[in-house]
């Protein structure tokens, strides 16, 4: 199999498992799905009719096929709670979640890489010790605790940032005012996620850079009299790049999980909080759809990371047999 066939089939497998999990979870819920929308006084004929309408009289594999087909065409059914199509509810939320996660991941990765490189260059300095500590702390502080403290300090006690929501109510008129308001609401969540995320990155980058800098080809580059900057960017960082991409790829599921918590703390209008509300409200179609979308986001990012990986490390594109 070629590189791309393997990658895409892997992604399809993940999506397939997510769909199966979704379907199974939906089946596990207490009672028949029909009972939740039906009056107990319904006659048996009406009940049977309703079961037919929902396709519940068909065998399980047919139901699963139907479910997969409708989910893949983004038809998630109607929310139990609001009575509106789930797809409409989600459409307005996906950009918010993507903006939150994308910005914070970009910021924490770049800040962490920069600090980690600095720390690796200055072994034993105060900066290195700070980086090591910040990494250990970011692993053991619960994200929601740090966010709650930030929220209390910077939004409640010192009202620099809004306390809740993705936009002011009512949202300001005009393009610039709207954009500014959006950024203002997003600033604290992104700041908190960056604070929580950069430590792990910095530690990883520092360890990797220290290892790479001990290699012979770096010594060789130095002996050739190459400028420091060029050694750092062209040799050290270039060697680290594929590994860093792997790290990015592996951190994605955790980042997406973090969206649920962050959006709950800051009451953002996003997919994560929608998922929480759906789960606590036993709104199964909505919960399944939100879970599917979050997984889809992860899988899509994974594929993107694979694409980047094959650009920075072309060896992976080679067939195993060809090598």
């Amino acid at each position: 199999m070629s590189y791309w066939a393997r990658r895409v089939s892997g992604a399809a497998l993940v999506l397939g498992m997510v769909l199966a999990l979704n379907f199974a979870l939906f089946r596990m819920m207490p009672g028949d799905p029909v009972t939740s929308v039906m009056d107990p006084d319904f006659s048996p004929e009406a009940r049977e009719r309703l079961r037919q309408v929902y396709g519940l009289d068909r065998p399980l594999y047919a139901q699963f096929a139907l479910y997969v087909k409708s989910t893949l065409s983004f038809d998630f059914g109607v929310s139990f709670l609001t009575g509106r199509p789930v797809a409409d509810e989600l459409r307005s939320r996906v950009p918010n979640t993507a903006a939150l996660l994308g910005t914070s991941l970009l910021l924490s990765a770049s800040l962490g890489t920069w600090l980690g490189m600095k720390a690796a260059l200055r072994r034993g300095s105060l900066l290195e010790r700070c980086v090591l500590w910040s990494g250990a702390l970011s692993f053991s502080f619960p994200s929601f605790f740090v966010q709650l403290v930030l929220l209390m300090a910077l939004a409640s006690a010192l009202p620099l940032f809004p306390l809740r929501g993705s936009l002011s109510v009512p949202p300001p008129e005009g393009g610039w005012g709207f954009a500014l308001d959006y950024v203002h609401h997003l600033a604290l969540p992104v700041l908190s996620l960056t604070l929580l995320g950069f430590g792990g990155w910095a530690i990883y980058v520092r360890n990797l850079a220290v290892k790479v800098m001990g290699e012979d080809f770096i010594l060789m580059a130095r002996a050739r009299g190459l400028p420091r900057r060029r050694i750092l960017l062209g040799h050290v960082f270039r060697t680290m790049l594929p590994t860093l991409l792997t790290l990015l790829l592996m951190s994605l599921p955790g980042v997406v999980s973090g969206a649920v918590i962050t959006e709950t703390v800051f009451s953002l209008h996003g997919v994560g909080r929608f998922l929480l509300e759906a789960v606590t409200g036993h709104d199964y179609p909505a919960a399944g759809a939100a879970f599917f979308l979050l997984s889809l986001l992860t899988v899509a990012c994974n594929l993107l990371a694979d694409l980047l990986y094959s650009v920075v490390d072309p060896r992976v594109r080679l067939d195993r047999s060809a090598r």
């Binding site: 993940v14 979870l25 692993f139 619960p142 605790f145 979050l294 997984s295 992860t298």
Partner: protein, 392 residues
Amino acid sequence: MKGLARRWGFWCLVVLTIAAILGERLFAASPGDQVAAPFSKPIWLGRYLPPTMELRLTADSPSATLDWRYSPPSGLSLRVEGPAGETGRFVELVRPGSPPLRLAPVREGFAADGRDIAFKRSLGLPPFKDASAHLFPERGEYVLSLTDGPSFEGSVVVRLEGGRYGLLGTDQRGRDAAALFVTGIRVSLIVGLFAALLATLLGTSLGLAAGYLGGWVDAVLMRTVDLLLSIPLLPVLMALAALWGRGLWQLVLILSVFSWMGTARTVRSLILSLRDAPYIEGLRGLGASSGYILRRHLLPETFPVLLATMTLGVPGAILSEAGLSFLGLSDPRVISWGRMLHEAHSFGAFAAGAWWLLIPPGTGISILCLAFLDVGKHLEETADPRLRRSRT
């Protein structure tokens, strides 16, 4: 063991475990009871707030003088205890610069609260505010006394709710936050330890199977690991917690089913490196069965590493439990640190500025996690002394 005693994390865990075992026995009231006004501050904070006080007036000591140097109390209640009958006496309050005010008749079984509308109306106070703010409007000397009358055997208890209570104040229901904090240790420890233990058992058996049997078993198991590591787990945990019930043990089960992957990978790679070692080959040549080799030789080899991975896995379970509780997906009757943070976030601690409900549970979780990480790192170094070099 000697090295362990020099680790701060070990002693931290010892102290926390003792606190978890003693639990609510350290406190006079049960942690679920209301002990003071909601959102009372810690006792060492806010000297302008009155502490909670209870005054007892009897026929022998019919008056009490209060040197009031605080803002108004946050609540007031009054009850008559013991045989009283119709005494014709009254409870009177003398405020600085105002005539005496008759608060209530001393009658058997009489009880009143500053929030009762009938009580406020009898005093001519506005019905929508707490009576205590009107009765104690300013600083100065207040005298509470019983008027003269026929003999009276019982006593009148006047309780003034303060704005300060205990080491850590109170939460939105007036429960002692210090008692809640200490009770919460137990949940974190139980969930963390048992989830990590179960996950390690699961991961070890699957890792052993994958590593030793190889072939399609290995392929299937390792693909499953890859799959589980590439979907966001929190949503799955949320759905399971909501569907499966929210009890402590269900949570332990859910967490362990989704956190065995790391251990399985470690054990598998360890077994792969050992499987073809000369002494195993020798054993096989001597006719030892697979079960015997696994049980007596391969499994013991993995023990030190397993102990370390288990300890290092505890923080993950603790953080997951705290996260789920914070999202409100835990049993509301079980007090845990995550639940405390959930209630602080959802029930108005922010509006009340009650940071004392936020900082203790959060730092508690972090300290517990750091302690387990510290001990785990020590165990890891013992299992693999090469790691020790990297500390310098």
